[in-house]
Amino acid sequence: MDWQALEVSIKLALATSLSLLPIGLILAYSLARGRFRGKYLAEALITLPLVLPPTVLGYFLLVGMDSNSAAGKLFYSITGDNLAFSFSGLWFASIIYSLPFAVQPMLRALENIAPELREAAWCSGLSRWKTFIKIELPLAWPGILTGLILSFCHTLGEFGVVLMIGGNIAGETRTLSIAIYDSVLAFDQQQAMQMSLILLAIAVITVTAIYRFNHRLMRV
């Protein structure tokens, strides 16, 4: 059992889903409430990782993170490190890759709030910010939670993009899904089975939790 790989996987999934909470919320709110040109294009771009093969996305991200690219140079000038084949690069790629899993549920939840509720809040004297905090956020909470958990699970099971961006560096970029792949290649069925069962258990628990929380929150 590769505990180090499990640690990397959980660290990556936590960092990605927590980063996606504010990012996803801002994007979802802008799409749900904003009226701007290119709204459909923005929505399509956010959904793109859902339909692109992970290797294609991974390839483009790898090219973008190359030490000769603008992003790679900028990252190097700040941290003195390379973005590609590092945990930070993996984290950034995971944010992009899991973006639709966070944004879509949040967007649908915000869109489902009746416009009259916001207007009633305004007519009750609540500012737009207070309306968001006291009305929209609690009402959209099931969707926000779903986005958070889905992006966590999705990052946990990531394979193609991790392989392209992170490679297979133990303790840095070697996640559980890569370790399973390695075990299978090395004919170590027992280890592959153990790690697969762990990923399966985490997926079952988190997805069940989504439904349970949502059911409880929606009952009010």
Binding site: A114, E116, E119, A121, C123, S124, P138, V220
Partner: protein
């Protein structure tokens, strides 16, 4: 006092002028899609018209000076059509949210005012339609508003509850001192609750006046149609022995003083409740006023009032309607096909330009 002049071309054309004094209720009536709710939204600050002036105690909107207060700045109390209660908050929290300085005893006083004491900790989903409407009203009043806006507040409740709520709102009104605007397409509702009525059609104000005035003395045929005037006929002003009279087919009817010139063609209306039935047993003096003979065609009774549909003798197929209490029908033993005498009281005849 609330005054509003609203003009716009897009997204729906509006040309509306209305005013409502403090303590008065103004009913905005008109068919669906006539722009009533948009007018209310303009007053609340939820929709910005292209042109106009909206003034309460201060000016809220003035297109000439590019002044436009937000809904938060306007201090309006608004009851939405579906109440728009916050589903995740209790009744107490819904009302408290609208208070500048939330105080529990004030919420309890408001709930008592709307007959909802004891339901403070319930969620909106645990309330009936009537109770939800009362919470929405209490929330609108919680802000101590300058103007109270009611957007079809009775449309989401059943008829029995609606009647009960009418009486409650009628009683509550006596305790309120702000202008109240009620949007409705139900004329009976407007007539029962409001002091003033403003008829809107295709985004335009057609007439504003007292309920009695608008319903019995519409300024145009359009208003008469929109307010469901039932006895609308055509006639002509003629001069007989130095007096202006209304010629209706072969009949000459006495009318009150009028500015219509002799020879002008007019529409004329008479409210069904203002037609006098000649009683068989006790003839009254009013019978000499514009007497008309008719045959009863049909009778429909609803809640103690009978609408008698009659064919005026000699004017076939002109039908005229009269509303009389059910007991009058029974006492006079009125039946279909029977000949009866009526008086079209001269002061009840209202003339409209053709």
């Amino acid at each position: 006092m609330l005054e509003a002049t609203i003009k716009q071309q897009q997204p729906i054309p509006l040309e509306v002028q209305l005013e409502c004094a403090a303590g008065e209720m103004l009913a905005l009536v008109g068919p669906s899609g006539s722009g009533k709710t948009t007018v209310l939204r303009c007053i609340a600050g939820l929709h910005k018209p292209q042109q106009g002036l909206i003034r309460s105690q201060t000016i809220w909107f003035d297109s000439n000076h590019e002044l436009n207060y937000s809904p938060q700045q306007r201090r309006v109390g608004m009851v939405f059509q579906n109440y728009a209660l916050f589903p995740h908050l209790t009744v107490m929290q819904n009302i408290m949210l609208a208070m500048q300085t939330p105080q529990e005893h004030k919420v309890r006083a408001l709930l008592e005012q709307v007959h909802l004491s004891g339901l403070e900790s319930r969620f909106p989903s645990q309330l009936s339609g009537g109770q939800q409407q009362r919470v929405a009203l209490a929330r609108a009043l919680a802000r101590d508003p300058e103007v109270l806006l009611l957007d079809e507040p009775f449309s989401a409740v059943d008829k029995v509850t609606r009647r009960k709520l009418y009486l409650e709102l009628h009683a509550l009104r006596r305790q309120l001192s702000m202008p109240i605007i009620l949007v409705t397409h139900d004329l009976d509702e407007a007539a029962m609750l409001a002091d003033q009525m403003c008829v809107i059609h295709q985004g335009k104000t057609l007439q504003q006046g007292t309920v009695e005035d608008v319903l019995n003395r519409p300024q145009s045929l359009n208003v008469a149609r929109l307010t469901d005037a039932r006895n609308v006929f055509e006639g002509k002003i003629v001069l007989v022995e130095g007096q202006k009279k209304l010629q209706w087919c072969e009949q000459l009817l006495e009318i009150a003083d009028t500015d219509f010139a002799v020879g002008s063609n007019v529409y004329w209306i008479i409210a069904p409740s203002k037609i006098l039935l000649h009683q068989r047993r006790r003839p009254s003096r009013g019978e000499q006023e514009n007497p008309v003979q008719a045959i009863i065609d049909d009778m429909i009774t609803l809640r103690g009032i009978t609408t008698v549909l009659m064919k005026v003798t000699g004017h076939n197929p002109l039908l005229i309607q009269m509303d009389i209490p059910e007991h009058v029908v029974e006492r006079n033993q009125l039946q279909r096909g029977e000949h009866i005498g009526l008086s079209l009281l001269r002061n009840a005849i209202h003339l409209i330009e053709q």
